[in-house]
Amino acid sequence: MTAAAPGLPAILGPIRPRPRWRETRLLVIVAGAVVAGSVSLALTSQVADPGESHGLSLANPVHVAVYLGLLAIAHTVLILSGRRMDEVLLPTAGMLGGISLLLMERLPQTQVVQSVGPWRLGLGDVQLAWLILSFGLATGLAVTVRSDSWLRLYKYTWAAAGVALLLATFIFGDDINGQRLSLTIGPISGQPAELLKVILVVFLAGYLSENRSLLVEESTRLGPIALPPLPFLAPMAAMWAIALGIVVMQRDLGAALLFFTVFLFLLYIATGRVGYVVVGVLLFLVGAYLMYRIVPTVQTRVDIWVDPFKDASGSGYQIVQSLFAFGRGGLVGTGLGAGLPTVDGNLPIPAVHTDFPLAALGEELGLVGVTAILGLFLVLIERGLRIAASAADEFRSLLAAGLALVIGTQAFIIAAGNLKLIPLTGITLPFISYGGSSLLVNGIIIGFLLALSDRGVEPPPPPKPRGRIARLTGRVSRLETPAAGRARIAPGPARRPDAER
């Protein structure tokens, strides 16, 4: 069917579907896995001793069906759009979302209760709603974004909007557990730091692609390390200050670490200079030590990390329980739904649905399952870097790499925190943790990556000429007639015909 479907609005243009067989095959496996998971959950609740309350809730078959229907619709829309987009991203995100849905269905539904009109929505319902919005957003962006000029040209505007969001959170934010992270405007409340991640990547991609050649020059030497001209180190200093500001003002260690890491990654990708990374890591160490001395929250986190068993029933409680959960899981886990969701009616890990989903999955799916989940994140990073490598220009390349690295770095920070590899910082596991802001932003990231992977989009704009001379020749060569131009084109010393031959 290549002809225009009759009756459609003209703006949509002719619909030329393009089959995406690889995506179809992968989505079939995703559907199989999600169904198998929910059956496993249902059977487990039969095994459980009826006398003992496990706080286990059954996977709602309607929810699973709605979720799989959602993936099918997203797939169909991508086929109908007819763009040549990556076929691995949607199934991978879909698999992570499916695991998230199974986990949220299985945890006690009273963890999160929201009333919308006459309905009372539990944890699973709310998570499903956010997943629908997230995949809807991803598909919408993938189909509609055809030009990047609205990101590229207004990078300073975006940066200003990001800083404004951050300041608004400083001033008007709500305090939850001593952290000032969420902002409530009317009926909507969200965590601006999540959106800030995307804005940061857009700004950095724009800034670095424009100033790349300046950053590559070396003119300053610090011992054996060659550094670029000092003024161009300013963005690094600014970024460092912003990260420290987030720690001091918001007590949000995770976001600060994420921002600074992604910044260093992008700087390295843009310039290929190890010197920047060395300076960045040194700055990080200095900043981390300062924060450890000044901010009590940081001190507690590090102390817990050094020895969580010192206060195993107090401050180290969550991380100790998380380690126990991983230990109980063993190689193949206890099976979905057969872990220990509640002890005496309380969750052993209170923040299991936001900060510790990996611990719950580690208990129920074991080492084998956790490795597979980390593998899924690895696939997302690989796809992002591949899209970056074949992008049409520097800006798109940096944008794709940055977006993929945001997801990858975030997954690493929280997974390593749960496993006590690094001090724990509260941050979400992309696509798996409960949380609206986080899921929506992950949807935006996948949508952008899909749009960037299409090579048939508008070509990037020509580079801006640098300096006065360039502007001059640019103008002259546009106006010139062959005779008049020859005399006026010379940008430097007067030209003479080359007489070597």
């Binding site: 095959r25 039969q46 040549r84 050649s213 020749t473 031959r501």
Partner: protein, 150 residues
């Protein structure tokens, strides 16, 4: 063993097996992509698009594939021969070193310019930059993709 418990474990392991089947299929697809990219004959490192060329050689709008070393000049032995009276026999050289392109002027009479700025020493060149030799302007672009992905 209780047959029901056995079923439960079969389903649990089936879930894990499907997770790995999914990863395996993706890994195969990714390896296939990489192989296809590597097989591509004469993998190029970049392209020069002719933006302006009053002399007509090379023609405006053509795009030339680049090897790691590409010399520009009026002499026929250059990789890119430019027919323009303001261009020297051996005018400039583009080299791909490590992961970036560099341009160097070979002591030409009228000089080489990158985005309008004169090239005095070896200078890094980004994709999208415009090199000017004589009256000919050439834009460096990324290599063409190995093969359009389905």
């Amino acid at each position: 063993m209780d047959p029901f418990l056995l079923t439960v474990w079969v389903v649990r392991l089936l879930f894990l097996a499907l997770l790995y089947l999914f990863l395996f299929r993706i890994a195969r697809a990714l390896v296939g992509d990489l192989r296809a990219a590597a097989r591509e004959p004469g993998a190029e490192l970049g392209r020069l698009v002719v933006v302006a060329s009053p002399g007509g050689e090379p023609e405006e709008g053509t795009s030339l594939a680049l090897d790691a070393i590409a010399t520009i000049g009026r002499d026929v032995n250059n990789a890119i021969v430019v027919e323009d009276q303001f261009v020297s026999a051996e005018h400039a050289i583009l080299t791909f070193r490590g992961r970036a392109w560099y341009v160097e002027d070979l002591g030409s009479t009228n000089g080489t310019f990158v985005n309008g700025a004169p090239v005095t020493e070896v200078m890094p060149l980004g994709y999208g930059d415009v090199v000017q030799v004589g009256q000919v302007r050439l834009r460096l672009e990324r290599p063409r993709p190995a093969r359009s992905r389905r």
